[in-house]
Subunit: 218 residues, 2 copies
DNA sequence: CGTCGATCAACTGACTCTTGTTCACAGTCT
DNA sequence: AGACTGTGAACAAGAGTCAGTTGATCGACG
């Protein structure tokens, strides 16, 4: 399915208006693109999250000649699917027939439509979201939501639980989002922060040697 | 950025109508989700493509206990970023100031909403406008400067002819259902052969314990 | 119709994937 | 608008999977 077909499919949710569908699609994509480009992770519950990932410089190989060359650090977009999307794609969960087919007030340009979608009309279709029965998802062993708080009491995992004082990545001061009430430094969007917790058993500085001399390990 | 914030950002493209923004977002995501769930690849030029990938059964390890267990075949969603998105995220390319500020026309339904919209849009516009850049980003073609990590192998260039170019694509028969309406037969975007390539050079013994015949069940 | 984006090849290293636990966020109710 | 509750998400760790890269070509997109 290419972009045109996607817009065509979307149009059914915009009263068949392809312009509105195209606009919606591009708005969403463009917004996500901009946010990701800014380095902001875009997390969409139930779908997944887009984020910018920093790829360190590394040695790559020209598949044609086999020559090794160093590619410098770059940023790449990364998408990780959310739990619900995975469940749906894997077939464990099914989507409702039509989540909210009726646009609330997205009447393209017809004032009449807006009039039609009076305040009360929304109450009908709007509320029903994916509140379906307790889907038994879990393709196999994956227990859905069994809390079972009782059993967790005795002897938890010995290893030191994650200390609240996380690593302090010197990345960048995360500019406060819209809601500034958040705790600072919580984010730490960096990938594997260096130094971590310094496990005594092994200290594989995996990042360090990677960039240096993959050709000659010794 | 969470979903709410994304909707808020989107609202600026829908005249501040958050409902319309939410609807647009959910429509797009839901449509993509459904298409992917059906197994149809959703390719959006310039952004990326979503597709369902079949993951073969394999032996996995429980990180806590270390026990080996067999995970059965499953489908997972996969997203691959497009060229433009990569370029933007990497900083090689800049987005135009505002793609299309004016939506087709989303009918706001009440004056109250309009008033709110106005207020919000003012603040929003303030920050967005500041980003106004000359844009006009000349199509830097496909080589936006950064793509030159190495200067063409000073002396490495292989002899007369490089690799033996293309070989006959003697892959497997395209036993694919190809639900696409207009999917060209030639394409045959079938996945990698499950059995992988079994070149004689590789010792079969090495592969044996790998995944297909993982020794014995614990 | 013109231009550009996506695909494919082989090899390798970076990254994903598993279960279980905890936390904070998201969604919904009041 | 505020608060509660459900739950998505991150972490751990080892092993295996797969994505990345250059260049040419086909087909998509405008």
């Amino acid at each position: 399915m290419n972009k045109s077909q996607l817009i065509d499919a979307l149009a059914t949710r915009f009263e068949g208006n392809k312009k509105a569908a195209a606009h919606a699609l591009e708005s969403v994509l463009d917004t996500i693109t901009r946010e990701v480009a800014k380095g902001e992770k875009v997390a969409i519950t139930g779908f997944g999250s887009f984020e910018k990932r920093v790829r360190e410089a590394r040695w790559v190989r020209n598949p044609a000649t086999g020559a090794r060359m160093k590619s410098k650090k770059t940023n790449v977009p990364k998408f990780s699917a959310g739990a619900e999307l995975k469940a749906i794609v894997s077939g464990a969960k099914k989507l409702p027939a039509r989540a909210a087919a009726r646009p609330v007030a997205v009447a393209t340009r017809t004032a009449a439509a807006a009039k039609k979608t009076a305040t009360k009309s929304a109450s009908a279709a709007k509320k029903t979201v994916t509140k379906a029965a307790p889907a038994k998802k879990a393709p196999a062993k994956k227990a859905p939501a069994k809390k079972a708080p009782a059993k967790k009491a005795p002897a938890k995992k010995a290893p030191a639980k994650k200390a609240p004082a996380k690593k302090a990545p010197a990345k960048k001061a995360p500019a406060k989002k819209a809601p500034a009430k958040k705790a600072p430094a919580k984010k730490a969007p960096a990938k594997k922060a260096p130094a971590k917790k310094a496990p005594a058993k092994k200290a594989p500085a995996k990042k360090a040697p990677a960039k240096n001399a993959p050709a000659k390990k010794a």
